[in-house]
Symmetry: D3
Subunit: 113 residues, 6 copies
């Protein structure tokens, strides 16, 4: 439930896509959230760490922005988020990590953190 | 310390590179391990989750193989590792997730898990 | 000929590059259009489907924007284009597919579709 | 139905993953096949063209190998498949296109085409 | 020394990241500049050529913008830079090369070249 | 001329593709070599540096193997090649750089360097 609430930060983007793909919100919710992200065996904080790392590696900044907010919502601290993104200098290189940290910085500032 | 021991699973690859780049092991150790991975603010299990997710997204299977072993060494369960990789069907797509799960399956079999 | 006309939607971008690489328009036209895209064995609609899918996978949104317009010009329907991009949730993951669908949505709106 | 039969070429890979993720075959089938690939608005041949192009762009050769077989099963000709992959010299560059064509060549040879 | 001066063009981005990762400027300087980029065996112009090519391949446009400026600072000509980026039509495909050339065009215009 | 000779190391791969795409060798030669790589404004050694860096960033190991040989043929030293690949720890991350260095190590060993 807390999980579901945290993930709701991604809603605006999914609602926007639903205007061009009717039912996309339900499809995304059923697959991503119900079939995958709510599986047992990994906590929601751990799942957000994995998501932040993958989005940094992919250079997917629009989704990363939403997931930095999701990460804060599910209880990851600003420092934990920063460390996940910074760590990607090792695996994805400085450009991807720098871009991700700049995105996170903006979200933190919007929230007054 | 436990950390350092766990990461030692990556040693063979780094030793191999050191044959063509003398001192690469020290360079990798100082930067990746001392400057980044040992920073406070994120536990070693959480860092391995981030690494597994990023390597899956990058399709970096040689390093992923080593880090599935590292992940087991630092105390992540087989189930936790599987969930991190499987979750990437959402963010990186089925091909990257499938490739990663096949790599993990091999490591689990080698260890009799 | 219809082919050539449809592809002309990509012209502004190529003209812009030609200002810094004199002759780029001719180079791009001769190679991409004459040597590859006009080969027999695959229709122009099918070629645009392949292009849309690849640009989504690559996260190449500037070119994708132009090719959504090209796709409409060569006779693909709005629904066909949406299905090509949406399908990439399976192969390239949700972030790439979502970004592509948002780009297509903008082009459709500009054309009043 | 013909569709479902064609896609069955991907089964061995998915069955292998199911050994480490129990139920993966059902999950992949329900999401990829039932929710996405069987949507109306795009024919199965067109969908395979999109898949081949995306897998080439992603450098996902294991899945590409299976999908060259799927493409033949659903009725794409050898020439059509070659043209889809070759076209990626323009969008994904020569290395990705060359790798994909070499994979396709092997599948064609295995089938005596 | 001239090297260090040329690389200073990347400073604003690194300073921005340092606001969210205190000490990032020192970390980046020590690793990227002192441990890697100042190694003997490859001149600074050659290193910038390699960097421009890699950033084009990665689609890392924010960093590319800075490195076009760095490249000019260390003595690469406008024509040399253009040729490095244009060459990527072969290896990374037209979209990545076009995006990179448009970034370079903007930097050249800002400098009145 | 020396240029053309050096590039001939890529011939076996291109000949293999030509079996499935008749005329691919001529197409690749005309576009990649005549239209792009032989343009004035950048020397062949500099072009190979750019190619090695991009192939490392792309994780395109089959082509990288050939281009390490091309690089040696056109006069780059073993040390220069190693430095180009190693530098990618900064921009493309350790996994891509490590994979590239292991490929180069094999080519050097085959040549007794």
């Amino acid at each position: 439930m807390a999980n579901k609430g945290g993930l709701r930060a991604a809603d605006p983007l999914i609602q926007e896509v639903s205007k061009v793909v009717p039912g996309f919100d339900q499809l995304a919710c059923e697959f991503a959230f119900e079939k995958i992200l709510s599986r047992p065996g990994l906590g929601i904080k751990q799942r957000e760490i994995a998501t932040l790392a993958a989005l940094t590696a992919l250079g997917a900044e629009t989704e990363l922005r939403l997931h930095v907010a999701v990460a804060l919502n599910v209880g990851l601290s600003k420092q934990e988020i920063v460390e996940v993104l910074l760590q990607q200098v090792v695996y994805s290189g400085f450009p991807r990590a720098i871009n991700a940290l700049l995105v996170a910085k903006e979200v933190f500032e919007e929230r007054g953190l």
